[in-house]
Amino acid sequence: MRFIRRNLLGVIAILVLVYLFIPIAVVAVLSFNKPSGKFNISWTQFSTDAWTNLCGVPGVCSSFITSIQIGIISTLVATALGTMIAFALVRYRFRGRSTTNLLIFLPMATPEVVMGSSLLALFLNLRFPLGQWTVVIAHIMFIISFVVVTVKARLQGLDPKLEEAARDLYANPRATFRYVTLPLVAPGIAGAALLGFSLSFDDFIISYFNAGTLVTFPIFIWGAAQRGIPVQVNALATLVFVVALLIVLGSQLVNYRRRRKLLSA
């Protein structure tokens, strides 16, 4: 009893973490399962089949690659555009600035169903063939908002005196941007890009409306769920999680090393 009272905070924290990680753990554990029937929902037997034969089910790998491609293209375009919009909004006073600020927020506030269906209506009216490009256009559209918000926050936190100091120290506008502004805003841009990619990779509703016959990874899972999700999906999902985890751990390690080096210097 006394133990619990003393360690209440720790106990609650652990319980919350367990709650958060149970679904991920279940997905990872079941990727090593050999299901008895069509549905991979109860543990039967340990097997590495899904991992050794990742693309063993028709459509799973091609949909995975399609999603990665769409994610990369839309992230690159949205990050470039969003960063420029953020600079314009923070640095310049122009007519329609506050309206733009408001409009940038709209895609985030609009329900995805509404956005997906209205985009579909637009593409159909324009007789634009549905497929990878319509999905990319849709994704760019909603990622931009997130990029603008993230980069804007970083830019607003940037001391304008730093750029003045650069100008004072013989840096022309281009050099000021290249050597001072960009390196200082880069973490914000990188964060925005990562966020954008995960939003795009993850998106189902808007993609489903505008994909036509194209199958992205979430659409594949949605389709498979009707007939029984193949174990490969668990394996791929676990893979994505592990890669993300490695990226985070890697950046932590670099930070840690840098700090150690500085302290010993």
Partner: protein, 386 residues
């Protein structure tokens, strides 16, 4: 090296003139301080010289060269910013090398190391700015600017963020560096003590204009406006009327008493004169000893309302019969009793320490508003009619 000239420099923000028709020559190699309260236009002046602010009108020249229309990165002028503005993503070495690299200097290693040596930071070359103390960051900021060998180094309240002890050290340090490199330093500050100890020429700025300029001792001993008298140090100011001359002195009568003000030390145009004297120039005598004061001295009778002992000196507040509070500093060289609160005293001082100011000015100009508020509150609290 060449002089820095500001000619009819004006900067308006909307209808408000932050800097108003300022003409000023700053001699090459001098340590020049622009002193003023916040909002007097001193920082705006500095930013115009740096090229970070465009003047509304006027010209800035270095020697014969007009730099008014040059961009900040084209000017042979560098700035030490109040917040230092060190680049957080670059280490100390790269911060100092920044200007050289932008100008395409090939070998930066030698000059950067020399400069780091000058500011005694060689050991910290690979640290990031956030790992340095305030004083060290300040020295990096100076090194980063000076390495470019500018014609003029601008310092914008460079010591404002440091604590008192460190500020003292940095004042000496900055003077040493200035002596060593010989560059013109233009130093903007609101701290009069800092300006007086460091600069060889001080310009006191008020409402976008220069009130008075000269070496610190001259300005202190002979202020020419009420603002300067109150802003640089403290002054006791008594408003009176000129009654005639006695040799080289103007005789001024105020509150039934006559004071002698050397005509050469008066800037009053009309008959209305403000008689001024610095607190440390006055001597306090117990009223019964009043006859000991030299006959030629100016004298005031009053009653002591406050005594603050401060080691080196004692500060007395003396209330005059016309309810004005005067301040007197006395060096603690007296053996025996000091005056205490309630004593009737005679204040006296030599006429040659007196200065005369034009009577049309507000006698409170240049006094910090907080001080005025405090004085008003103290007067309101005081029991009346005793």
């Amino acid at each position: 090296m060449e002089d820095l000239h500001l000619l009819n420099l004006t900067k308006k923000f909307g209808d408000v003139a932050a800097v108003d028709d300022l003409t000023l020559t700053i001699p090459a190699g001098s340590f020049f301080a622009l002193l003023g309260a916040s909002g007097c236009g001193k920082t705006t002046t500095l930013r115009m010289v740096a090229g970070l602010e465009d003047p509304t009108a006027g010209t800035i020249r270095i020697g014969a060269k007009d730099i008014t229309n040059l961009r900040a990165f084209q000017r042979p002028v560098n700035t030490v910013f109040q917040s230092y503005a060190l680049f957080p993503h670059l280490d100390i070495f790269e911060n100092v090398a920044f200007g050289l690299r932008r100008r395409g200097v090939k070998d930066v290693k030698t000059p950067v190391n020399q400069m780091l040596e000058l500011v005694e930071l060689s050991a910290l070359a690979r640290r990031k700015p956030t790992q340095l103390s305030g004083g060290q960051q300040q020295r990096v900021a100076v090194a980063r600017a000076l390495i470019n060998e500018p014609d003029v180094l601008l310092l914008d309240e460079p010591l404002g963020a440091l604590d008192l002890k460190l500020r003292r050290q940095m004042q000496i340090e900055l003077k040493r560096i200035q002596n060593e490199v010989g560059t013109t330093f233009v130093h903007v500050t609101h701290d009069q003590e800092e300006a007086m100890t460091m600069a060889d020429t001080v310009a006191i700025m008020n409402a976008g204009r220069i009130e008075q300029m000269g070496n610190p001792a001259t300005i202190y001993e002979l202020p020419k406006t009420v603002f300067v008298a109150n802003f640089l140090g403290q002054s006791n100011l008594i408003t009176g009327t000129a009654q005639g001359r006695n040799g080289d002195d103007i005789l001024v009568s105020a509150h039934g008493q006559t004071y002698a003000v050397p005509a050469a030390r008066s800037t009053a145009a009309g008959d209305s004169i403000i008689v001024g004297v610095r607190p440390e120039k006055m001597t306090v005598l117990d009223a019964p000893d009043g006859h000991k004061a030299p006959a030629s001295h100016n004298k005031i009778l009053g009653r002591v309302t406050d005594v603050s002992y401060a080691g080196v000196s004692t500060q007395y507040l003396v209330r005059t019969p016309w309810e004005q509070e005067l301040t007197v500093f006395e060096q603690n060289v007296i053996v025996g009793d000091r005056c205490s609160v309630g004593d009737e005293v005679l204040l006296h001082w030599a006429p040659e320490h007196t200065f005369g100011l034009d009577g049309k000015q507000d006698v409170h100009a240049g006094v910090a508003p907080e001080v005025l508020d405090l004085e008003a509150a103290a007067l309101a609290l005081e029991p009346r009619g005793e």
